[in-house]
């Protein structure tokens, strides 16, 4: 059974349709890569998953429950979906350790020592424990992304979603982050990643969903999308991305 099942999801902002009926599913332990050109609705799709953006219509079934219903406990939902942002979004007035412990203490109600233990465990897993007393401004982009990931993982989410995780990184750090996400997948963490970084997409999954003009236009292997797909626009997107990667 799918962990997340998105059915006919629509989002309209001021008469502008950003999502025009998205259908997508994600099985537990799987990794789903969604690619598409800028402005195709990738980030909006992710934000609908944890209701940072309210969908206009359609359903999102998460663990068997339609989370678009008004009576859903949105804060509880958000705690079970780890979100890693494009620009890392670390709290810059807090140290690396505090970035990870904050939600554990204030939302999960853990004691300071429990939260620290849990945070250090996650940071060690991502080789960031050594930097725990530093502030975000004192670490590199790749390290920031690791901290953002540790912050998401510390809450034991059912799924981790990545919004363009490598777009703010140089090629070396991008590769590092790609390996990190791959390792998470090997650890059986369910992942959804939106990106236009073809290398990252290919590295994470054999199959990719292509989102364009608010709908999933294709879901297939890279090979097929690049060479054999009937829609020339899709072929050209993957060819162009491949040539720029």
């Amino acid at each position: 059974m799918a962990l997340i099942e998105i059915n006919n999801l629509v989002k309209v902002f001021d008469k502008q349709t950003v999502l025009a009926g998205v259908n997508l599913s994600l099985v537990e332990g799987d990794v789903k890569v969604v690619m598409g050109p800028s402005g195709c609705g990738k980030s909006t799709l992710l934000r609908c998953l944890n209701r940072l953006i309210e969908p206009t219509s359609g359903t999102i079934i998460f663990r068997g429950e339609d989370i678009t219903k008004p009576e859903v406990d949105v804060r509880a939902l958000r705690q079970s979906i780890g979100f890693v942002f494009q620009q890392f979004a670390l709290y810059r007035h807090l140290t690396v350790l505090e970035n990870v412990t904050l939600a554990l203490r204030k939302i999960r109600g853990m004691s300071r020592s429990e939260a620290k233990e849990k945070a250090l465990h996650e940071l060690s897993r991502l080789d960031m424990a050594i930097h725990c007393d530093k502030y975000p401004s004192q670490i590199s982009g790749g390290q920031k992304q690791r901290v953002a990931l540790a912050r998401a993982l510390a809450m034991d989410p059912a799924v981790v979603v990545f919004d363009e995780p490598t777009s703010a990184l140089d090629p070396i750090m991008s590769r590092e982050v790609a390996m990190l996400i791959k390792n998470l997948h090997r650890d059986n963490v369910t992942i959804m990643c939106v990106t236009h970084d073809l290398l990252l997409g290919r590295y994470l999954s054999e199959r990719v969903a292509f989102l364009d003009h608010g709908i999933i236009k294709a879901e297939d292997t890279f090979e097929n999308l690049c060479n054999n797909h009937s829609d020339p626009q899709i072929r050209s997107f993957f060819e162009r991305e491949a040539s720029t990667s």
Binding site: F85, A89, R92, H93, I107, Y135
Partner: protein
Amino acid sequence: MSEWARFISDLLEQMPLILTGLGKTLQLASLISFTGFLMGVVVFYLTLSQRGIIRRLINGYISFFIGMPLIVLLFLMYYGLPQWGIKLTPFTVAVIGFTLNVGAYNAAYLTSAFNGLDRSELEAAKAQGFNHRQIFSLITLPQVLRLSIPALTNQIINNLKDSSIAFLIQYTEFFARVQELASTNFQFFKAYFFAALVYLCLVSIIVLIARALEKKILIPGIFR
């Protein structure tokens, strides 16, 4: 006896009254700095309300009190309200008037600092499951306060200096006592120069405390 000797003799004679006045100045300035700060934080919090009507009301409050001269507000309350049967002591009028005025200014400083924040942090906090109040107290306010220290310090300095206008509503603070000293010996320049030196010393102390505080809560690479 020289003019200076006569002035110092009068000054020493009136020193107990001047010190009482200084105490009242410090009491008023500290209290309005505190209440004005709290008011500023509350008003700033309300400017972030998700309800449009609250935001509009609060913006109206800020514009009104920033736009109205403080002396008019104090006179309105001290001389105007008794006509409606509401009689308040000079100290109460000063505290309420200054708090409303200072709160509006402080809220405007905090709002300016908020506009410089990285909004993705607020979105990340929301995505983690924090509620509106937690995001404000744990993410927004700590950063905004750090960024606003210079502006808030200036406001405290203004509070100290502006507290002198409270003597116009019969609140006998430091400047009122210096006025009395000047009118007894007609040494206006010396008396007001003395007052200026005292205010300068007090302002210097505030600046030194603010600098020490700023150094203490400085975050590497971010807050100057």
